[in-house]
Symmetry: C2
Subunit: 380 residues, 2 copies
């Protein structure tokens, strides 16, 4: 018996109390029961996004929510800047170009980040920039971009800051209103510990104002229409009912733990994972501020990282992730987000030692586990 | 104790074996386990859609899949005809107009349908029509449009036939390839007995050819990119994993029953429901070919149909649906689609008798149940 363990950077495991809530008989979304549920969900989402704005759940993946952010706030020909330092930065570029936007790329080598100073400079050089788009946590490289700095740079201008927080919401602190982020996008399957299938958009006042003049075509992802329904505890189109039912349980769990503790937990798990990898002599891929959601590790010289991913699966029934795009074969990624705790990290690292040994690498057994335990023993 | 019964025209109840499959621990969508599941799902969907084409599951509601059909096959300024005889016909119009299409409305009074002859005439008058869009089953009025006739009219022309089969797939016969329907759109929460959250699009060769020249902007709903992934047993973006897991169970159930039997079951349930309503002296709303998915019944003179819906809920814990838009207050709708069987119809009708009596209407108790039983006693 090898127990299945899901340790990829999303989808993350779903807590059993959430699975069981979702396994209750289907309810209809225009009933008092659903309305009471949705009232609670709306309130919980505002706390989670740290905003007074409505958070709009959409029946789509995180990419659909990214597209919603673009098509509701921009018009064809608009000039925008995209922070691009990984696969999801590339996705912003692709979405913007698909809709005929004029994209200025703020690129950094993968594994690094774009300093807020470059955003400041770009805004000075490009006063008509309509938006800056970025990831908070770039899942493909494991870095955390300086969204706080980007917001400081944009909020005194006419340029919106649109942030993909798919792998940072409920993982890294992102006080939307306090920092002045104009649009925050998230998904159900990372920090929210739910099955994939729901994306979220929250818009600040400046972004809502922009929706009045934005002319990109949209229907399914029309956020103004969605908000008109959400404030009445309805959805514009049939919502992903079972995931919304699970969401109520998740929001209760997060509230019980307390958001600051949730962030501290992820930070500890990430530090322990990094310490563990380094204790085995491995190089971390994220040179800049590493993300608390996922740790990207460079495969040892001469080892294709896909072999490491395969060995985790075949020998240990553990799903981790490899590198994406140009990073394929070079790195592997250990997720420690959402429904993840200390002994999950211990398991992932112990398995890593066994995987490396099986691949013929010299391994000091226990070294990475010990490093993680030392991290856990520190006062948080 | 009043047992909860979901008898609305979607979402429909989810069978417990499907709920339990979906309550299994989350799996990752890039694993051999998911691939094996998806191979089976792809094959099952082709049988269900009665097509040799790939059926593309998208993480969105049925409306998202409707939009996908439009944005992948059409270009701004294209002239299209929409069969409009209910709320979902209106939705086609709204989607087309949101994307700058030039819409010719083929309207019929709600409760009626548009004869294929009008499509033939329109094609003669408008030789440059790029597409005809219609519902198969119009959920809001309970009619079934003559998709077979529309297909006969369009398939010898350059005009595509795009059909919303959200409330007919797996309910009424719709042999896509045999009839020559160019695009079929469906959703997870009706005949497929799943939670809402997955939409489906299947395109025939003519529609795929059209995607090469269609210029409407799209990214999340780009079906060409989706197909490129689906044939490799992948998804372009994170799929709604739990619903796809449930879908495998549903496809097995449908195969066990046999598609002809599935259609026969729905036809019997619909006939029994109509017979039951008429036995109480009630008027059916669908004057034309009634849908086997849902029966729309006109409220007795002087009774607001919303009171009937409320009485079902409050006195009996049964969710049915009222009228939508201009039909609000005038009619109520009994769903008998998906996970629905004979005694569900008996329950719905027995409750109807009690509801009407409670609202002060004269009722011959047992009359509608008897009429339904007689229908069930007939050789199918």
């Amino acid at each position: 018996m090898k127990k299945y363990q899901l340790m990829a950077p999303g989808p993350t495991p779903v807590p059993s109390e959430v699975l069981l809530a979702m396994a209750q008989p289907m309810i209809h979304h225009r009933t008092p029961e659903y309305e009471a549920l949705f009232v609670e969900v709306r309130a919980g989402l505002k706390q989670l996004f740290q905003t007074g704005q409505e958070v709009l759940p959409l029946a789509c993946s995180g990419t659909g929510a990214m597209e919603a952010a673009v098509v509701n706030t921009l018009s064809a020909g608009d000039r925008v800047a995209v922070v691009r330092a990984g696969k999801f930065g590339e996705r912003w570029v692709e979405i913007c170009r698909a809709y005929g936007l004029d994209v200025v790329e703020l690129a950094a080598p993968f594994g690094e980040t774009v300093p807020a100073g470059r955003v400041v400079e770009t805004l000075r050089r490009e006063p008509r920039l309509r938006a800056v788009l970025a990831q908070h946590s770039e899942t493909s490289t494991g870095v955390l971009h300086d969204v706080r700095g980007y917001a400081a740079a944009t909020r005194g201008t006419d340029t919106l800051l649109i942030v993909d927080a798919v792998s940072s919401l409920g993982i890294a602190d992102l006080p939307m209103d306090a920092w002045g982020v104009d649009v925050v996008v998230a998904g159900s399957q990372k920090g929210l510990m739910l099955p994939p299938g729901v994306g979220f958009c929250a818009l600040g006042d400046r972004a809502w104002a922009r929706t009045k003049t934005a002319t990109l075509p949209k229907y399914y992802l029309n956020l103004g229409e969605e908000r008109r329904c959400v404030v009445k505890n309805e959805a514009h189109f049939t919502p992903a009912v079972s995931i919304i039912v699970g969401l109520r349980q998740v929001l209760r769990m997060l509230e019980r733990e307390g958001l600051p503790n949730v962030f501290r937990r992820h930070d500890r798990l990430a530090r322990a994972t990094r310490a563990g990898a380094e204790a085995l002599g491995l190089e971390l891929f994220a040179k800049a501020t590493p993300s608390p959601a996922v740790t990207a590790v460079v495969a040892p010289p001469g080892v294709d990282s896909e072999r490491i991913v395969a060995a985790y699966a075949e020998a240990h029934n553990i799903t981790i992730a490899g590198g994406q795009g140009e990073m394929k074969g070079r790195l592997f990624r250990l997720g420690h987000m959402g429904y993840a705790a200390e002994f999950d990290v211990i398991t992932a690292l112990a398995a890593l030692e066994q995987v490396l040994a099986d691949l013929g690498q010299p391994v000091d057994f226990g070294a990475s586990v010990r490093a993680a335990q030392k991290t856990f023993a520190e006062k948080a």
